[in-house]
């Protein structure tokens, strides 16, 4: 009796398992949110949080260029662009309008890591391909998320600076705005390395927008307070350029500094003969997101999360970047080259 019950239980379990496996294979045939009822040419909605910063303009440039490519192939016929002017509430309203207008895909840089979660889930439920990149939303109800790793950004930067200082020295930490996930994650990423090196003393930290002027102002006042500074851990954007300009104006000796691929920083780096390290949030993430959306709509499976490796700029390869500087705006970012082959490789990587 007991034996037969066991048997029944085991067979039930087996059937259950098979059904599960069956469901999983079925689900992986198409990417999340995709129902297969949308046909090319597609309408792409680009829900930007704020179009004014140069980084955003360049990113929009890569999206527009990618859309032109896809138009030639007959895959896309329209690009709809919204600008929430920095207001996460407006962004929600605009995503809702995109749902109302029944676009086929939404490309999104979120103005808040939590606020758009519900409206994005609504879009996903309507079969709209949602590709979220750069600033991510805390939800799984999207087709794919694409980003570099902000923790790794901070970690690698901190390790480079610590090695450069021989594990001992007084540093400044320059952060992006407070309360923003990206700036918070980069800072957290630096924590472990800093804690492991008690010889590194943090004199002060700043929180400013990712712009030259506010960073320069903040560093200028810190320079008065701290006569001895051995290194600067700058966690992004044009903060490093601001710091260098501030030190230069006061005639302070240059110190090792980390940074990002801002053209102004790279040019100052070369001009002042610095020893530096920089990475980047590639602007072509926008083009890549657009490409991924169309791939998903075409029925291809795309990974739920695509981790884009952080390109590194150091004294060995900076000349290659500066050689292309004239192709980029003076206050822009010199991003690494990209093509469809790179995109296919990134989508294929697990």
């Amino acid at each position: 009796m007991r034996k037969s019950m066991m048997k029944a239980a085991v067979s039930a379990l087996c059937i259950g398992l098979f059904t599960c496996i069956g469901l999983v294979t079925e689900a992986s045939a198409a990417a999340k949110c995709i129902k297969g009822d949308r046909k090319a040419p597609y309408t792409i909605g680009w829900a930007n949080i704020y179009s004014v910063p140069t980084w955003m303009k360049q990113t929009e440039g890569t999206i527009a260029a990618e859309v032109e490519e896809l138009k030639k192939k007959g895959l896309v016929d329209k690009l709809v662009i919204t600008d929430a002017q920095g207001d996460a509430n407006v962004q929600i309203q605009q995503i809702q309008s995109m749902i109302d207008a029944d676009v086929d895909a939404i490309i999104l840089i979120a103005g808040s890591s939590t606020a758009p979660a519900r409206v994005v889930a609504d879009a996903c439920a309507k079969g709209i391909a949602v590709i979220n990149f750069d600033s991510l939303v805390d939800t799984d109800e999207v087709t794919a998320k694409i980003n570099t790793d902000s923790n790794e950004w901070g970690d690698t930067a901190a390790k480079w600076l610590i090695a450069e200082l021989g594990g001992k020295g007084k540093i400044l930490v320059l952060n992006g705005p407070a309360g923003i996930s990206v700036s918070d994650d980069r800072r957290k990423g630096a924590n472990a390395a800093l804690a492991a090196n008690p010889g590194i003393e943090i004199l002060a930290e700043t929180n400013t927008a990712y712009n030259v002027a506010p960073a320069q102002e903040a560093v200028t006042s810190l320079l008065f307070a701290h006569p001895e500074i051995n290194g600067i851990l700058s966690l992004g954007g044009a903060l490093s350029a601001g710091a260098i300009l501030a030190m230069d104006k006061q005639g302070r000796p240059m110190v090792p500094i980390t940074g990002e691929n801002a053209r102004q920083f790279l040019e100052l780096w070369k001009e002042k003969g610095l020893k530096s390290w920089a990475t980047m949030q590639p602007n072509w993430l926008g083009a890549f997101a657009t490409y991924t959306a169309v791939q998903a709509l075409e029925g291809k499976d795309v990974p739920a999360f695509v981790k884009v490796p952080l390109p590194v700029i150091d004294n060995s390869n900076i000349d290659g970047y500066l050689a292309r500087a004239k192709d980029f705006p003076a206050d822009g970012y010199i991003f690494s080259p990209y093509d469809q082959k790179l995109f296919d490789e990134l989508l294929a990587a697990k």
């Binding site: 919204t82 207001d87 509430n89 939590t114 606020a115 979660a117 923003i180």
Partner: protein, 323 residues
């Protein structure tokens, strides 16, 4: 006898209301035109789901427009509205899924709004300090508090509460009408009656026995309450809290109130005007989307529409005054 007075009162009441509406007719016409254009571009608006979703985007702005208008009517102003909205949102997102539940969260959000608003009011009114300075300083303190409670976006709102307020039901629209109705009732209380008098002619009102200071402090408290409630709604709408979500509301609340004909000097303007102003700002965003304006053109169009809506009543009034 009382009925006789009542009829006389009624006639006076409607005449006053008509007088106050006259300046707003231009704005109402513009708002109606935009709503009609929106419905034409997006027929789905005329469904329950369509109205619900639109009302959800509009409600927070309507609430902060009222929060700003009530202060401007007393001759005050607040630069802390955005920060207070953020605070309301983070308090809601951190309390509601915890021990005290949704009811506890609503109490905490309301109490914090009333207390913060009243404190600002007491400091500005009793110490005779300029409201603009007091609320600017308050905006830093309140914004900092929000960041202390929730250093980065997070927290949670129970799903059923989000669906109740911001699901596919027109709950948000009902709330707008409810708050407008409560405002009417408040105007019938002694403090509410004192509001306009305290704003338009504080000295005269004081000599006539109007509790000027109390009316003004109460206005600050109510303004704080409306702001944190806007934050509560945003938290429900988004299902979470964000410590900087409210930032844009400070300027937008002033824009909506001014657009609605509320003057900076106190005593001039109506709440229905402020609500209509917020509606225009909100519907404008959707209309421009459906017209397919590129973002750069949207900046320009937005500015032109606001100037147009403010100028229209002035122009019509001037036209009317001509013999």
């Amino acid at each position: 006898m009382s009925s006789m007075i009542r009829t006389g009162d009624d006639r006076l009441y409607w005449r006053v209301q008509g007088e106050r509406n006259r300046g707003l007719m231009g704005l109402f016409a513009v708002v109606a035109a935009f709503l009609a254009l929106y419905a034409y571009l997006f027929p789905g608006l005329l469904s329950v789901a369509g109205v619900s979703k639109f009302a959800q985007s509009w409600l927070p702005l309507a609430l902060v427009a009222m929060a700003q208008a009530i202060l401007m009517l007393t001759g005050g102003i607040s630069l802390a509205i955005g920060a207070t909205v953020s605070l309301g949102a983070v308090i809601a997102a951190t309390t509601m899924s915890g021990y005290f539940g949704v009811a506890g969260g609503i109490v905490a959000v309301s109490a914090s709004g009333l207390v913060i608003g009243a404190l600002c009011g007491v400091i500005a009114i009793r110490l005779r300090l300029p409201a603009i300075i007091v609320t600017l300083a308050a905006s830093f303190i309140i914004g900092g508090l929000a960041l202390l409670i929730l250093p980065r976006p997070g927290g949670a709102i129970p799903g059923w509460f989000s669906d109740l307020l911001a699901g596919n039901t027109p709950a948000a629209l009902v709330l707008v009408f409810l708050v407008a109705l409560l405002w009417k009732l408040y105007l019938a209380t002694p403090l509410g009656l004192s509001l306009y008098a305290a704003g338009e002619n504080p000295v005269g009102a004081y000599r006539a026995g109007v509790p000027v200071d109390a009316a003004r402090i109460a206005a600050y408290a109510i303004s704080g309450l409306l702001s944190t409630l806007a934050g509560l709604f945003i938290a429900a709408q988004t299902g979470s809290g964000d410590p900087v979500i409210g930032q844009a509301f400070t300027l937008n609340s002033i824009a909506a109130a001014v657009l609605g004909g509320v003057g900076f000097l106190g005593g001039r303007g109506t709440m229905r005007g402020a609500i209509a102003g917020s509606l225009l700002l909100s519907v404008m965003i959707n209309v421009m989307f459906f017209l397919g304006f590129p973002p750069v053109a949207q900046y320009v169009a937005q500015g032109l529409i606001i100037i147009g809506a403010v100028a229209l009543p002035q122009l019509t009034a001037r036209f009317r005054r001509r013999p």
